[in-house]
Symmetry: C2
Subunit: 158 residues, 2 copies
DNA sequence: ACCCGATCGTTGAACCCTCAACTGTAGTGG
DNA sequence: CCACTACAGTTGAGGGTTCAACGATCGGGT
């Protein structure tokens, strides 16, 4: 019954697993060491910095940063303690909350960005050929489209 | 100074990040729900099951499962509580310990495998063309070779 | 006006991972 | 034989994530 992986698929799966593990561990460790924040929190700050008024509803922010609502709620609590984000009540919906990027948060992001971009470049774009970068983009697009269709929203789905 | 990402690189990086996050969240969640173990632990059981005598030195096991020594130590402790692995003293080196896969552990792995393989197939191999699978393997190989050269062993490096 | 299901967001417990510090043993040079 | 460094593995604290449960509000149907 089970459609087992053949030898070639096995090999691809294993090296894929290995490279992702190594890559994200490395990227995350470098960001943590240089800027004192996990990659997830960096993503949150980025999405906020791009939003008009540097503010977003919690659930919009969760969607844009591929985070569950719960994870984001914890993350924003932590980021509030660092003084990088603050919560504000949402005027149009009494249930809602908005996360607002503070000036300190924006400064922290500006300080973290160059080193992080350099990490990504060194470990991802430099070793790959332009053609491989293109392929990786296309592969990623197919996978995330497929997952979005099959899995609904990232987490907390029905 | 900073070599910022151009528009195309930005787009590739973001969709890559997104697909990675969604994919591993999905795979991990399915494995956790169906078999009650995180993907990391599954990997540990797999490596043990492939070793002669279904046993390996802790640090060899750590290397093969892309894990830090610390992580593996915690993981094996947890797996011992489940009765899936046991520790034995290493005869040739009094510092060392061996992790041994128990029959219950092997059975748990056999029970988990079909569902996990199915997840991987559904979310990775099915949506990609054979050519894309080949490309993904090659890209992954380049990245992990590069990281191994630049970063030393996975974690706990000097 | 009222109910009721859906949505927004939070909380706490359990779990996993990281990091740094630590124990104990191996191997090596004097 | 004695340091002394290097190695194997563990431990505990701190922090991030998940999951399920919860309080609160919204909005449509009656």
């Amino acid at each position: 019954m089970t459609r087992w992986l053949n030898v070639g698929e096995q090999a691809v799966w294993r090296v894929f697993l290995e490279s992702h593990q190594m890559f994200f561990d490395q990227i995350g460790r470098e960001l943590q060491q240089e800027s004192g924040m996990p990659h997830t929190y960096y993503e949150v700050l980025v999405r906020l910095s791009e939003a008009p008024g540097r503010r977003l509803r919690m659930s919009e922010l969760a969607d844009r940063s591929q985070s569950s609502r719960s994870r984001l709620s914890h993350a924003v609590s932590r980021l509030e303690e660092s003084g990088w984000v603050r919560r504000e009540a949402c005027p149009s919906d009494a249930r809602g909350a908005e996360a607002v990027l503070t000036d300190e948060g924006f400064a922290a992001l500006e300080a973290a960005a160059p080193g992080h971009v350099e990490s990504v470049r060194r470990h991802l774009f430099d070793p790959l050929s332009p053609e491989q970068v293109r392929q990786l983009g296309e592969i990623s697009r197919v996978l995330s489209d497929h997952l979005r269709a099959a899995g609904g929203t990232p987490h907390d789905c029905s």
